[in-house]
């Protein structure tokens, strides 16, 4: 199982704050996993999860799309940060 978290505008647009899923295949890339999420949800998910400035983190570290996932990972999707 992996845990998937959504924050801020992304959370509101998807009306989802977290999901728990089994990885469709071990070692799948973040890009392929994002496609899997899109394919298993409605059209809004494609629009939101492919937006140009979306940030993705794995285990609380910002990563690129070619990052490989493992069971137990925490995956997060969020817009550019605006704290401080």
């Amino acid at each position: 199982m992996v845990q998937i978290l959504f924050f801020s505008l992304i959370r509101e647009q998807l009306n989802t704050d977290k999901l728990s899923l089994s990885l469709p295949s071990p070692g799948i890339t973040l890009q392929a996993f994002t496609e899997h999420l899109i394919d298993t949800h409605d059209a809004q998910w494609r629009e939101v999860l492919t937006s140009a400035n979306i940030i993705k983190a794995v285990n609380q570290r910002v990563v690129d799309d070619d990052c490989c996932l493992a069971d137990g990972d925490e995956i997060a999707f969020f817009p550019p940060v605006t704290g401080g």
Binding site: L9, N53, T82
Partner: protein, 157 residues
């Protein structure tokens, strides 16, 4: 820098700058300089009056990312202590949002590290601001000027 002298909090409640500076001064009698920054909620942003500012964050990753930024600062400058407090939840205009306080022997290091930590926190720590205005709620857009400020610190090596 002794890691015992580093402290990061993400909290709902307000903070007392004097008490935080006092604690930093008590860490070492070699502290000669305390540079600090307090971010404050403004009543007008992008031409709209703000009634409430709500801060969301990514628990765990916020603390981790700020700790990493402090380690980067301690690699570049000779620091004695660092204290960062970031508030979350609902805030009002004139409320304090964030404190970054840095101590060192001499002022140049404290000033540079304090500004560096703020610039990186602004672009790397997962916080998001939502403003309540007369025409409804809106998520604050990231500013390119914040990215420019952080990019200034990139070392050409």
């Amino acid at each position: 820098m002794n890691l015992d002298n580093v402290s990061v909090s993400v909290q709902l409640q307000d903070f007392d700058v004097s008490a935080e500076i006092q604690r930093l001064r008590n860490q070492s009698a070699q502290v000669g300089a305390v540079a600090s920054f307090v971010g404050v909620v403004r009543d007008i942003n992008d031409d709209q009056t703000i009634s409430i500012l709500e801060l969301e964050h990514y628990p765990g990753m916020t603390e981790k990312s700020i700790a990493e930024i402090i380690v980067m600062a301690a690699d570049r400058w000779q620091l004695i202590g660092v204290r960062v407090i970031h508030r979350v939840g609902k805030l009002l205009p004139t409320d304090q949002i964030v404190l970054v306080a840095v101590t060192s022997m001499h002022r140049g290091e404290a000033f540079a590290a304090c500004e560096f930590i703020m610039d990186y926190l602004k672009t790397r720590a997962p916080f998001w601001k939502k403003e309540q205005t007369a025409t409804g709620a809106r998520w604050v857009d990231a500013r390119s000027t914040d990215q420019t400020a952080a990019d200034r610190w990139k070392q050409s090596d």
